[in-house]
């Protein structure tokens, strides 16, 4: 074991709710959801000396209300962590949680920390996208970004047109629909096999109708057929466009957490980590085609760490929109509509996308994928980010190595 390397030890999440008044988390505070997954993380890892955690870092796009009060620190109290644990919050929109992991792991590798809690949360019902934001008017008046591209759906619509104009293969609505259908199919197959029970935690929550148990990803609709996806002609962003609710992620509430640890500390505690953090890259792209981000960020991280795309055995990609996933597949020559390497147990289009939390979800699924596929050596978590960014982390499978 490399003592100064950073390892992914464990992760868990709430099930994801729909961000609506009838959604399961409507009356639940975001920081209570964070508290719940922190409780669960502590319960699952009883040998960890929690007071020695070097930082508790949380991604949240909106950092006010129930996601405010420097949440990374405030949840130390609500989750019963010892006072010695410091904390802070991070905003890189969708990649908030992923950024916490990248910087937490780097903090460990530099020798500044041994244990980091890295998580992400978004309660999109309490914090609708862009609510309370006040973008600098210069961005619009000086035509840096046309206002409509502050809306992510419009960037997905544009991506359909942009790819062929930029030497990439085109992606049609039909392909996006077909891709989405297979995601849902894989999701339910995995769900029924108990795949999600391994890292999703039931949460008893208060609702306007009394206490209920939030024990499902509410967005995923069982029995969805390819026909029904294709026939959905509701285009929320562009009339007669490409993007429909069926081939996009939704508005969701959820919290995800992970525990990162140095090799030194794993050895000391006798903990068997699941993945080694190899490296991370973030990159900016044209903000009007935000969904393209994962392509250049993945190329960047591969190059930086001297690897080729073919070295990656499993990829957990956040499908904010099907078009960007299909574009990613086509760019890297993956098999359409399904490639066994990509999102093997379903993806965001099925379970939803509570912005800053999703990057952490990708990592906990990748860790589980590694456990199920001992031959897999390297994996990737990657996602696109608002205002035109991409983020990618390469992880190495260390299941059974220690």
């Amino acid at each position: 074991m490399d003592l100064r390397d950073a390892y992914f030890v464990d992760g868990c999440r709430t099930w994801f709710g729909k961000s609506r008044p009838d959604g399961q988390f409507w009356s639940t505070r975001a920081d209570d959801m964070v508290t719940k997954v922190l409780y669960e993380l502590q319960k699952r890892n009883p040998t960890v000396p929690w007071g020695e955690v070097d930082d508790c870092i949380w991604g949240a796009t909106t950092q006010s209300g129930d996601q405010g009060t420097t949440m990374g620190r405030a949840v130390v109290f609500t989750a019963g962590l010892p006072d010695t644990v410091p904390g802070f919050s991070v905003d890189r929109m969708c990649a908030g949680g992923m950024t916490c992991q990248a910087f937490g792991a780097s903090f460990i590798k530099s020798g500044s920390a041994d244990m980091i809690i890295a998580g992400g949360v978004e309660h999109m019902a309490h914090h609708p996208m862009g609510a309370g934001a006040d973008p600098n008017p210069r961005i619009v008046t000086e035509k840096m970004v046309a206002p409509k591209y502050f809306n992510m759906g419009n960037t997905a619509e544009k991506l359909h047109d942009w790819m062929p104009e930029h030497g990439e293969q085109p992606v049609t609505k039909e392909e996006a629909d077909e891709y989405s259908y297979h995601v849902l199919e894989r999701y339910f197959k995995a769900l029924d096999a108990g795949y999600y029970d391994k890292h999703c935690v039931d949460m008893t929550v208060f609702s306007p109708n009394g206490w209920i148990v939030a024990n499902k990803d509410e967005q995923a609709k069982r029995g969805t057929t390819l026909e029904s996806i294709k026939n959905l002609r509701r285009f929320p962003f562009k009339a007669e466009g490409h993007v429909t609710p069926a081939n996009a992620s939704g508005l969701n509430d959820g919290a995800c957490v992970s525990l990162l640890m140095s090799g030194q500390k794993c050895k000391e505690l006798g903990i068997k980590p699941k993945m080694k953090f190899v490296g991370a890259s973030f990159i900016g792209v044209d903000p009007t085609v935000m969904g393209w981000g994962p392509v250049p960020s993945t190329e960047k991280v591969l190059k930086r760490f001297g690897m080729k795309f073919e070295d990656l055995d499993i990829i957990e990609l956040n499908e904010a929109f099907a078009v960007q996933a299909v574009g990613f597949m086509k760019h890297f020559g993956m098999k359409f509509p399904e490639d066994p390497r990509l999102n093997p147990y379903g993806g965001t289009i099925a379970m939803g996308h509570p912005l800053a939390s999703s990057g952490v979800r990708l990592s906990m699924q990748l860790a589980q994928d590694f456990e199920m596929n001992p031959k897999a050596k390297y994996g990737l978590t990657t996602m696109c980010v608002g205002l035109g960014m991409g983020g990618s982390i390469i992880w190495e499978n260390v299941v059974g190595k220690f």
């Binding site: 508290t35 719940k36 409780y39 609500t78 989750a79 019963g80 039931d202 949460m203 008893t204 208060f206 609702s207 306007p208 109708n209 009394g210 206490w211 209920i212 148990v213 024990n215």
Partner: protein, 692 residues
């Protein structure tokens, strides 16, 4: 009150382990500040949920809890009708017993997750379940109580039977009798758990989820609940001791605690149905009793009416901001005032006296009190030091008074001295600074007559000991401005005292009534009644302390001084008692002495008291004394000293220890027929159960 109906809301949780669990949430749709209660509609909704669950063979468990922070605080007492028919009153108990018993009779395991405040019928419904979790204090269930006896009722939905059989007779006595009689003390979840009223004490974070998880494991058999077996039988010793203790508290003034004791004692020998029926009967009697009417009256008076600050000028009149406080005098009363102001306002308090040694003594008293509180864990040592050394400062000059926002004087009761002090203050204080006087007997208008602005003067009369007695009389003169008065009310509120607005008249309100008591008592003794007979007859009304014990506490010299003041205003009604004069002259500080045979009147006092030969029965003594008091209250109201009989009652309950359960003195005098007989009319001609 019953504006927000609590509904029992049913949800199902399909547990992978344990199968289908019915989750029943009590919820009135409001935030925690409007708690869940039981009423007719709420019980109906519970019955409806039970109908559904009973019929569903797939349901494997019943799990009941409350909306966040609140379990259920029981029946809404303000909606109970003391003028109901006996049959209606009986139904109240029967309906609740019947609904709750259905939970007990369910064929599936049942769990109550007591997530927050619970009282009365809330505690009771929890007790019908097979298992209970309770959310740990602080922040979880911080209030657990069966307060019925406090109001003159008995727990009527199973409390006396269930607590006894679950936790034993001693626990039942503590919870159902002694706590309510002890200023309605409530316990928290930790204590409730220790008493055996819950099986699991869980942290408040994710309490409902953790409870549900335990319940799943109970259903599957992974967790077995081992409960300590208790013997529900009450020993004769316990019964007699408890009865003796109740007598010590309420004498024959209240019936409910005695009835509750018998119900608890009976529990061991009764089946559930027998016990519940006895309870329903007892509850019906209690609802129709005078005592409950009185309890309701007092409850409204102290819990609702007093909080609205009757007498304060309208809200538009803003009180002054208080950033610094002056206290003139450093004696016991002044020191107590300095303490309470420093602690509640957390601003500098400057205490002035004429000699450094007096100041030092006052400061030492404050620091000593604070040190004791720190030792008891009521505050940190650092805070005690902060209050005692940084906030409260002593002085013998007026330096530092220039920026005080109000100054209160607590020096010896002499008009000339007080006028001189106010004059000196006027020279140094800023014009907005208010002058408060803690006088108990002097004319407040007279005290400020030499000032350029007598509108800044207001009476602010505390009761000794300040920390114990919640009343403050605010005395308005015809010159007192609205801002001064509003500020005085705000000060009272800030220091958590109950203010009552009183006109500037001799003896103000409470002392005048107390002195009327004394006058009645002395009249009986003067005419020949036995000292101890009088003391006991009056004590038996339900007072926590006998009149002679109280007189010892107040000090006979002070009693005489007030009597002399009142005598100047109303020589006919307040003759100066020769007996009292004699005993003060002898330097007596107490009236009672301990002898071989128990407590008795000090023989020297008896010897120095001129007495006639008339003999009295206990009832006659009470009638003489109460009639005298009724006459005085009539005068007080006719003179407009206070605005309403309710102010009189607030005064005697909060400032003179009149028993809460007796519902204030004016209703008592009404329904005993004394007010009509002594003054020709009732204080509440339309009945006293009319709430604003």
């Amino acid at each position: 009150m019953a504006k927000y109906i609590t509904e029992c809301k049913l949800n199902y949780f399909n547990s992978k382990k344990a199968g289908k669990i019915a989750i029943v949430t009590m919820d009135n749709g409001q935030l925690y500040n409007i708690p869940n209660t039981w009423g007719t509609e709420a019980l109906e909704s519970l019955n409806k949920v039970l109908d559904t669950v009973e019929k569903d063979p797939d349901v494997k468990g019943w799990f009941m809890t409350g909306k966040p922070f609140i379990f259920n605080v029981g029946a809404d007492i303000m909606s109970a009708n003391p003028n109901a028919s006996r049959e209606e009153a009986l139904q109240i108990g029967l309906v609740g017993h019947k609904a709750f018993k259905r939970i007990m009779d369910l064929k599936i395991p049942t769990m109550a997750a007591i997530n927050g405040a619970t009282m009365g019928g809330g505690c009771e419904v929890g007790l019908y379940h097979n298992y209970r979790t309770i959310s740990k204090s602080p922040g979880g269930c911080d209030h657990y109580a069966l307060p019925e006896c406090f109001l003159g009722l008995v727990p009527g939905w199973g409390g006396t039977q269930l607590v006894t059989k679950l936790a034993g007779p001693q626990a039942a006595i503590d919870l159902i009798i002694m706590n309510p009689l002890n200023m309605n003390k409530m316990i928290n979840s930790i204590k409730a758990y220790e008493m055996g009223l819950a099986d699991f004490l869980l942290p408040p974070g994710d309490f409902t989820g953790a409870s549900l998880e335990i319940f799943e494991k109970i259903i599957t058999g992974e967790i077995k609940v081992d409960r300590k077996k208790v013997d529900p039988k009450m020993s004769d010793d316990l019964y007699n001791n408890t009865k003796f203790q109740i007598m010590g508290r309420v004498h024959s003034g209240a019936k409910a605690p005695y009835v509750a004791l018998d119900l608890i004692k009976g529990a061991a020998g009764w089946s559930w149905d027998e016990g519940f029926l006895k309870e329903s009967e007892a509850l019906a009697d209690a609802i129709l009793s005078d005592q409950f009417k009185c309890g309701l009256y007092s409850f409204d008076l102290t819990q609702r009416r007093a909080k609205k600050l009757p007498g304060r000028p309208p809200r538009e009149v803003k009180g002054n901001k208080i950033n610094k406080i002056g206290v003139i005098g450093a004696g016991l009363m002044a020191s107590q005032m300095a303490l309470i102001f420093a602690r509640r306002f957390q601003v500098p308090v400057l205490m002035k006296d004429i000699k450094q040694e007096f100041v030092d003594k006052g400061l030492a008293y404050c620091r000593d009190q604070l040190g004791k509180d720190a030792k008891k864990g009521k505050m940190s040592a650092a805070d005690a030091k902060w209050y005692g050394e940084d906030l409260i400062k002593g002085t013998v000059t007026y330096d530092g008074f220039e920026d005080c926002d109000f100054v209160i004087e607590g020096v010896f009761e002499e008009m000339g001295i007080k006028q001189k002090i106010f004059g000196e203050l006027e020279a140094v204080c800023k014009p907005e600074c208010l002058f408060l006087t803690n006088t108990s007997s002097l004319d407040v208008l007279e005290m400020g007559k030499n000032l350029k602005d007598p509108g800044r003067v207001v009476g602010f009369h505390f009761f000794n000991p300040i920390a114990m007695l919640p009343l403050v009389e605010i005395i308005k003169t015809e010159k007192t401005t609205d801002v001064t008065l509003a500020t005085a009310f705000d000060i009272a509120k800030k220091i958590k005292k109950t203010p009552v607005l009183v006109k500037n008249a001799s003896g103000f309100l409470v002392n005048r009534i107390l002195l009327a008591w004394n006058d009645g008592i002395f009249k009986c003794i003067d005419e020949g009644a036995d000292f101890m007979q009088v003391d006991n007859a009056i004590h038996d009304l339900g007072y926590p302390m006998s009149p002679f014990t109280l007189a010892g506490l107040v000090g006979p010299a002070i009693a005489l001084h007030v009597q002399e003041t009142l005598n100047k205003s109303w020589p006919d009604r307040f003759p100066v008692s020769q007996g009292l004069k004699n005993l003060v002259a002898k330097g007596k500080k107490q009236l009672l002495v301990f002898t071989d045979k128990g407590v008795d009147i000090d023989p020297e006092i008896k010897a120095g008291w001129p007495q006639g030969n008339k003999k009295f029965t206990d009832d006659e003594i009470r009638e003489v004394v109460l009639s005298r008091v009724a006459v005085e209250i009539r005068h007080i109201l006719d003179e407009g000293v206070v605005a309403s009989p309710k102010d009189v009652d607030t005064g005697v309950i909060m400032g003179a220890g009149w028993p809460f359960f007796m519902g204030g003195i004016t209703p008592y005098l009404d329904y005993k027929g004394i007010s009509e007989k002594a003054t020709g009319k009732k204080f509440h001609p339309d009945g006293f159960l009319k709430f604003d």
